[in-house]
Symmetry: C2
Subunit: 309 residues, 2 copies
């Protein structure tokens, strides 16, 4: 079973306190695919310019990412240049050249339309809605978004919420969207507008998954060296959706929680290298080691005790 992702495919140039990389693979659909492909086949829909180094996507194709939905348009590819200083949670954008991405109009290939799992990465909510009009009733639709769309496309984003099962967004975006500073209230506000599952990502502080009757929390995997945080959120989404797609017939609270752990584990590798280079060479053992370690990190045995209260 496959997961369909619609999002950006870019070339990133990144500077961190630990190094510098020029024109490495970037974009939400790229990070998502590189991560999800360790767990399930992926169908990618995106756009690149005539200048995109297509040979560098071969590694993705070899891992089972179907690139039939990757349009090549006349014009330049989406390029982003950014810098992280001491605070690795905050990227400073130096340059953004949208190129062909500014006219992106997702065309879902015929053979992708029956994808049971769909991830609408961070693009204009009008395009996210348009994708939903092109696919047959998926079992699970998840979306991401960002501050720019929350501000400029609020009505369309609210319309989208009615049509997705799950949304991933970071804490600042959740607060901005809902005007609730408290995340428990913010999650409820969102669930009241459609999604049954709300994942609020807090970067190095981990991620919450809220449902109408439960809260799950996964801490970020404690790393000694974070090299480049770019793409962590999309990599998390890839691990999460990849796991769910691979367990399509048994989706329940147990699997959703484990999917959070897989997302966390894969994202922790993503930030250990520039672009997708670390995730690209992940082994099965590496992923399951970190999932197991995450289980140990938060585990404690509850037992009734004698209280003086």
């Amino acid at each position: 079973m496959s997961v369909l992702v619609v999002g950006s495919v870019a070339l990133d140039s990144v500077e961190t306190p630990f190094g510098k990389a020029d024109e490495v693979l970037g974009g939400s659909a790229t990070f998502f695919s590189a991560s999800a492909s360790h767990l399930t086949p992926v169908q990618l829909v995106g756009v690149v310019g005539h200048d995109y180094p297509m040979d560098r996507l071969r590694a993705l194709a070899d891992r089972g990412v179907d690139l039939a939905g990757l349009q090549r348009d006349e014009g330049l590819s989406f390029r982003w240049r950014g810098r992280y200083r001491h605070d690795l949670n905050a990227a400073e954008t130096l340059e953004t050249h949208l190129g062909v991405f500014s006219h992106f109009r997702p065309q879902i290939p015929e053979q992708f339309r029956s994808a049971p799992f769909v991830f609408l990465a961070n693009i204009d909510p009008r395009l996210q809605l348009d994708v939903l009009s092109q696919v047959d009733r998926p079992r699970l639709v998840a979306c991401d978004t960002m501050n720019f769309w929350i501000e400029s496309r609020r009505p369309e984003l609210l319309q989208l919420l009615e049509r997705v099962d799950l949304i991933t967004l970071n804490d600042a975006e959740a607060r901005q969207l809902t005007e609730q500073s408290n995340l428990v209230r913010a999650a409820r506000w969102i669930m009241d507008r459609g999604p049954s599952h709300v994942i609020i990502k807090k970067g190095e502080h981990g991620a919450f998954m809220f449902t109408r009757d439960s809260i799950f929390f996964a801490p970020a995997y404690p790393l000694e060296s974070v090299f480049d945080p770019t793409g962590a959120g999309d990599s998390f989404a890839g691990g999460f959706m990849g796991y769910l797609t691979a367990h399509a017939d048994e989706i329940d609270d147990v699997h959703l929680r484990r999917a959070m752990a897989y997302g966390t584990a894969v994202a922790s590798y993503n930030v250990e290298g520039f672009g997708t280079e670390r995730v690209a060479r992940l082994t099965a053992g590496e992923i399951s080691d970190r999932v197991a370690e995450l289980a140990r990190i938060t585990h404690f045995e509850d037992a009734p005790i004698e209280l003086r209260a």
Copy 2:
């Protein structure tokens, strides 16, 4: 078995977005005692001025907090006035009047000197060291500290580290003390200087407990309303040390992790009211409900899966 706490006893005036309180019970030893007393008897050493409303400490005494070590000196009591705005993680200090606390010289009463568990709350490291010279070999000594001492009493603080089993400090303090921005490295730096256990508190983002061979993480209990964060750290320490003292004969990784959950649960109640008022009327059921909920929030079942990696 008792836990001995040495720290401040103050009167706090606090303004938050949700209300205002004048001269409520405050101070590290007070928050610690109110919390720990739900789990174990407490011996408090501190100082107040002649103006302190002693009758308001009666509730603590009734709960098993031995106040024989609370000195009453000539002069005014320690008063703190602070404000929290939108960001409840950051207190803005409006006024600090140390009063008699500025000359505090802890005198450990004879009958407290054999306390098996000692918590050196946030006071001058020279006084923390002095307390250790007054007690018989405790089984476990824990300390707290703050930015002011890290800057002004670094040599004494490093000397103290050699003599404590456990330290609690927040993430900013850990980074300041160790000059390591990464918390895993910061914790190792501290352990290399003495303590076998390092608890790094991240406020609303939870707390880590590092040992030489394991990492445990407890998220903050997800509350819908945080009323007043003052004292959360000392309340956490009280629940943590209170649990350990009540399980003095069986301290191991299982109990240390559970102690983190008790600290987290009690602290979550502390921030639901001004001063100690919410913790003072805690019931046994309320504490264990939140400990059980914390276990559910982070629990996931790991299981081997078929990876494509």
